[in-house]
Symmetry: C2
Subunit: 334 residues, 2 copies
């Protein structure tokens, strides 16, 4: 059986820099027509020059593929002139609460300070992408952050807000209730709960922010995705770290799913008997919500076993060493 | 300032076997007058011969210290004759639900099968020590197991039941409500929550079963211990694993607290302004509840900085590399 997907998109992707980027970017570029590139580099992407440089680096590494890097800016209080200038070069601006995840130290500390910038973004129709977690108890962070989302949605009724990598039933309900709100869901949050991370042996390679939640949260995410939710789209949050930063005293947050994303998505949609919703989840919803037209590119999957390597250089992928039911047949260029 | 503690006891200790035992047992033997030795070896302690052999091994390794190993048997359905014979050689029998923690595979799968043995234990006054977790969602396991405790307490009203390493406010309430029930509390569960394990970077050396819980659970444990609860006693659950089993793909459960237990207990009781309750927590409650008389031994602590080694051979301790306010002045033999 062959499964053809038009212009699959990864709407939340970490490509890192330097040798790590050289290692991981071609993998995503081969399987996707485009991806939303996260800006939380060691020195965050917060100027036009950094944005151009980063985009150029990505294009250089991915030059053999049809692949559109949709660039994002790291949220800070920006002046109008800058936002007007940057607008055409970005798909949106990514907001991180300070210190909440990898390289987010220069994120937002005071949410009262964000509103002037949001007002300009709303006017200029620049989407706001959000890592929505409070600094509270680890399992409550996403729920606690809903008050911030609520205030943003109420004060900026036309702003397109994207709740990134949602993991809870509460978040699904929030998306349901607000037409201007979209959300991304990762592959791993459609497959694991906290039990998989710390319920048996502890699994550092399944450790991510936000942390995987309860069975009922997993179910709510799956229900929403498999019903073909009109505002929920795929964003892998594929976040590579070298092995020595995962299997160590203090393990970095992030699951490297890029190499297995498409085969495993096919597998779980097939298991749910909802392969008909996959095209929407991996492309159509995003194209509509962001009003983008990715470069023409079709990915063909076939139900032929794929044995996942245990390492891509020094990065261990999701399902390392396991055999998947679907494999990528061809990134056929049109 | 000098703090003298009479016959401190660790009422829940993993000494392992072989070279690991040689590495860790002398540390506990130096700081404590005795300890309850867990029976979950690779081949569990479930015969008199294994019990004698294990005890002999421990005594050989600890021969330079005054130290009483209070032996336990691994719970299985045992016949009366065996229990009568083993009775004088053990402090109690430790029940593990099958597969719930390190080397518990041969534990109990069907709780309907345990009652005949419990009836004999009750009659022979053999205490029942329990790892009380269900196989449910990782944060609910201890709460879900309360129904098993409740049935045991109701059906065996004279049996001394010890809820090992309790971690939740619910468990504290259960102890409060039942006079025949005691509990052990670890050092680390008096100091950390799930936030410390997975809230920032993931910390494999703080990963244990039961997993550390929520702030309100931590508070309930601290409240109970610092008020001098008459049925709650110290059990470190110090559970060493070699570094390569902690910093790896699947990290083993257990925190190695033996080297820092007494200094850190002094520190947290001092911080809570309840140093007056420490003697009860680390010895008197256990002596009374178990009706034991440990060998005479006094441990002196002084408020002099102690820099914790980062490794004891290949095992990383709790608070590795950090400096504690209290140190052990002398295991003075009387």
């Amino acid at each position: 059986m062959i499964l053809s997907l038009n212009t699959p998109l990864d709407m939340h992707l970490h490509l890192r820099e330097g040798t790590m980027m050289q290692n991981v970017a071609p993998i995503s570029a081969a399987c996707f027509a485009g991806a939303v590139i996260m800006p939380n580099l060691i020195s965050p992407v917060d100027t036009l020059q950094k944005l151009f440089n980063y985009r150029e680096d990505i294009e250089k590494v991915c030059k053999n593929e049809i692949f559109e890097p949709y660039m994002t800016l790291f949220f800070k209080p920006y002046p109008r002139e800058f936002l007007e200038e940057v607008r055409e070069h970005i798909i949106g601006i990514k907001l991180y609460p300070a210190g909440i995840t990898t390289q987010s130290e220069s994120g937002v500390t005071d949410f009262n300070m964000i509103e002037p910038t949001l007002a300009i973004m709303e006017e200029l129709q620049i989407p706001l992408l959000v890592h929505g977690e409070s600094d509270g108890f680890v399992l409550d962070r996403e729920r606690e952050f809903l008050v911030v989302y609520r205030r943003i949605v109420e004060n900026f009724p036309v702003l397109h807000v994207i709740m990134e990598h949602i993991t809870t039933a509460d978040s699904v309900s929030f998306v349901d209730e607000h037409d201007t709100v979209s959300a991304t869901v990762t592959l791993h949050h459609l497959m694991i709960t906290l039990d998989d991370v710390i319920g048996g042996l502890m699994q550092p390679h399944l450790f991510c922010k936000p942390i995987a939640k309860k069975p009922r949260d997993l179910q709510a995410l799956r229900d929403a995705v498999f019903m073909g939710h009109p505002r929920i789209m795929f964003g892998s949050d594929s976040a590579p770290h070298p092995q020595h930063k995962k299997e160590c005293v203090g393990c970095a947050a992030g699951v490297f799913t890029a190499p297995v994303a498409m085969p495993l998505l096919a597998q779980i949609f097939e298991e749910a008997d909802r392969l008909d919703c996959l095209q929407g989840f991996v492309s159509d919803v995003a194209c509509k919500r962001y009003a983008i037209t990715p470069p023409a590119k079709t990915i063909e999957l076939e139900n032929k076993p794929y044995r996942v390597p245990t390492l891509f250089n020094n990065v261990r992928p999701f399902f390392a060493g396991e055999t998947l039911r679907w494999s990528i047949r061809s990134p056929a260029r049109i």
